[in-house]
């Protein structure tokens, strides 16, 4: 076995051990940097690189040689300008410095609630997407079709280019092939409703003005976000990534009533199928730690803020903890201070297993970090966070039979057809067409919903 293959094997086994409730040989170093940071590292024009992701490869290769990580140091990107531009997105726009950002937008009006509750997918396609994407205009049907076709081609092209770079690096440097965006991706129903449908301000009003409709809308959206997050292959190692947004800005009472039930159910239903989730607890979740404890065993909790001791104490036996180490340290502290600090985090978070090293959040700019600090922190974790009791059981053990959830209602819409529905309408079609046609149906569903997250 080559050195690279042997290293990859080691990396696979440390991640799998964590997910299999065992103490790994060492703590996995889960550092991956966003597209923008690596483009800047490579001295590329950010705008040009985002329009032509292939040109980032050289910079990616160089950063992979420079920074230690057990997953590919290049995260890829979720947001390329091509498809947003083609569809004239209101919700994702490039600012003057080349960063694609998400301004506050309202894709759904208060009067749309009833329709959303009755026919969620129809409402999203007929009302919300056309408001958010001006070139997806049902009043101009031919151009709407052309623009949509162009955008999905652009989407496939850009994601394929960055995906190929990641695959290449995984092969070349023997990374663990399970980066953040390699499994499923979805949002909590309440966040889906808040982010691009009602907007932060809109949902803040709705919580007060029409809480019962908010709750009903979360239930109506549930089958959509559930389906959206399903990973293509289910195993103990694939993760569904769910960034959580609104709870730190809400009162606990509203959270308990409006946010938590559909979110908890989502994770329970995935767990009943043997699917695990990585949730990013954006901002400060200290007041919700008891809720997080209730989530299925081995949920990976990525914290941005919080007291590591308290978090480890309350959640560390049941869940996998990651995050917390402030990425800001890499800019404001010396190399020695960064190293001391990371040892302190490891000493608290690593004992007993169920810990993966990551920063509290991804850096936004290359100038947000001093490279020598980043390298020193990554290498310290690799060399310092080594277990002497590898192979022992780590905390509570996941058992999918513990999770029983009534199956959710199916997605029903005139814009989405199961094979049986399609076949009933087109009885002449050969069954040989089934995998291809059904796959295309799923692809379109995922792309349309991706436009709203």
């Amino acid at each position: 076995m080559t050195d690279v293959k042997a290293l990859q094997q080691e990396r696979i086994s440390i991640y799998h051990d964590v997910y299999d409730d065992k103490i790994p040989k060492r703590v996995p170093v889960n550092i991956s940097l966003p597209f923008e940071v690596i483009a800047q590292f490579g001295g590329l024009d950010l705008c040009e690189a985002q329009w032509n992701p292939a040109i980032i490869e050289e910079a990616v290769d160089k950063i992979c040689q420079t920074v230690y990580s057990d997953v590919c140091v290049f995260m890829g990107s979720f947001r390329y300008p091509s498809f947003y531009q083609i569809l004239k997105s209101q919700s994702f726009q490039m600012a003057s410095n080349g960063f694609i950002q998400h301004p506050e937008v309202t894709g759904m009006l208060p009067e749309d609630y009833d329709y959303l509750i009755e026919k969620p997918y129809d409402c999203l396609l007929e009302r919300v997407i056309p408001r958010q994407y001006k070139a997806f205009n049902p009043d101009d049907p031919i151009n709407c079709a052309i623009n949509f076709a162009k955008s999905i081609l652009a989407f496939n092209n850009d994601f394929m280019q960055s995906g190929m770079i990641i695959n290449k690096m995984e092969e070349k440097y023997g990374y663990y092939p399970g980066g953040l965006l390699s499994g499923g991706f979805t949002e909590a129903p309440f966040d889906f409703l808040s982010d691009q449908l009602r907007g932060f301000k809109g949902i803040s009003m709705d919580i007060r003005r029409m809480p019962e409709k908010v709750a009903a809308a979360c239930d109506a959206l549930y089958p959509i976000v559930f389906k959206m997050g399903l990973p293509p292959i289910i195993s103990n190692y694939t993760q569904v990534f769910i960034p959580l947004h609104m709870p730190p800005f809400m009162r606990e009472k509203d959270f308990a009533k409006l946010y938590w039930p559909s979110f908890k159910r989502l994770l329970d239903e995935y767990a009943s199928m043997g699917i695990h989730c990585t949730i990013f607890c954006e901002h400060d979740w200290t007041r919700y730690l008891d809720y997080l404890y209730e989530l299925p065993t081995d949920t990976t909790l990525w914290f941005e803020y919080g007291d590591p001791k308290l978090i480890k104490e309350k959640l560390g036996k049941k869940h996998i903890i990651t995050g917390l180490y402030p990425v800001m340290n890499l800019k404001t502290k010396t190399k020695e201070q960064c190293v001391e600090e990371v040892k302190r985090y490891i000493d608290i978070l690593a004992p007993g297993g169920k810990y993966i090293f990551n920063f509290d959040k991804s850096p936004l700019l290359f100038s947000d970090i001093k490279l020598e600090c980043l390298c020193a922190v990554a290498e310290t974790v690799r060399d310092y966070a080594v277990y002497s009791n590898a192979g022992e059981t780590a905390g509570m053990v996941f058992n999918k039979a513990d999770y029983k959830v009534e199956p959710s209602r199916n997605l029903e819409s005139k814009y989405y057809k199961t094979w049986e529905q399609y076949k009933a309408l087109n009885p002449e079609v050969s069954d040989f067409g089934r995998p291809k046609l059904q796959n295309l149906e799923e692809t379109i569903f995922h792309y349309l919903m991706f436009l709203l997250v």
Partner: protein, 217 residues
Amino acid sequence: MKNLITVEDLIIKSVEELDEEKVIRLASKALKAGMEPLFLLDLIKEGVKRVGKLYEDQKYFIADLIMAGLIFKEVLELEEMKVQFRRRNSKILGRVIVGTVKGDLHDIGKDIFKGLMEVNGFEAVDLGVDVSKEVFAQGVIKYKPDIVGLSGVLTSTIDSMKEIVDTLVDAGVRNDVKIILGGSHLTKEACDYIGADCYANDASAGVKLCKQMLGKI
């Protein structure tokens, strides 16, 4: 008299409880019964202040501040209030121009700050998002504000903020204004580097600082 006191308390309390419908109902009724619009405004402000206090005590959160701002705006939209405000707008504590700086499109923090400033008696001019240094400089010359509020969420905004302050220095207007920065990523070091007068990690703290800078508290 007893009734009047009850109405006042009720108005304050329903703002504090963010009961929008009740506030509007009580406010309309009170105005029709002859309550002075400026007196009503003071009651609403008192309610909003209590919301701010609950926010500081972590009983309320940002979603609640947004709702309080909305209720305040709705009261101002009542016909009797609009008439009053067209006639008398001289009683302001100061004028502030606010904007999210170049490179950043986030507007929630800026909007909350602007709303709270208005509640607290400031006149606020909103320059929008992704605002360049030139537009800030022109804004200072045109509106002659007491305070310039630079808002940003992204860490990259530190450099934009510095450029804006430098431009105000070059334009010779830096010393005519106080500059406050708003954003959860800001620190004392960042503020010194940028050359602003102060910074706030949340909107309600920002309002207090603005009042302090103008010697209003």
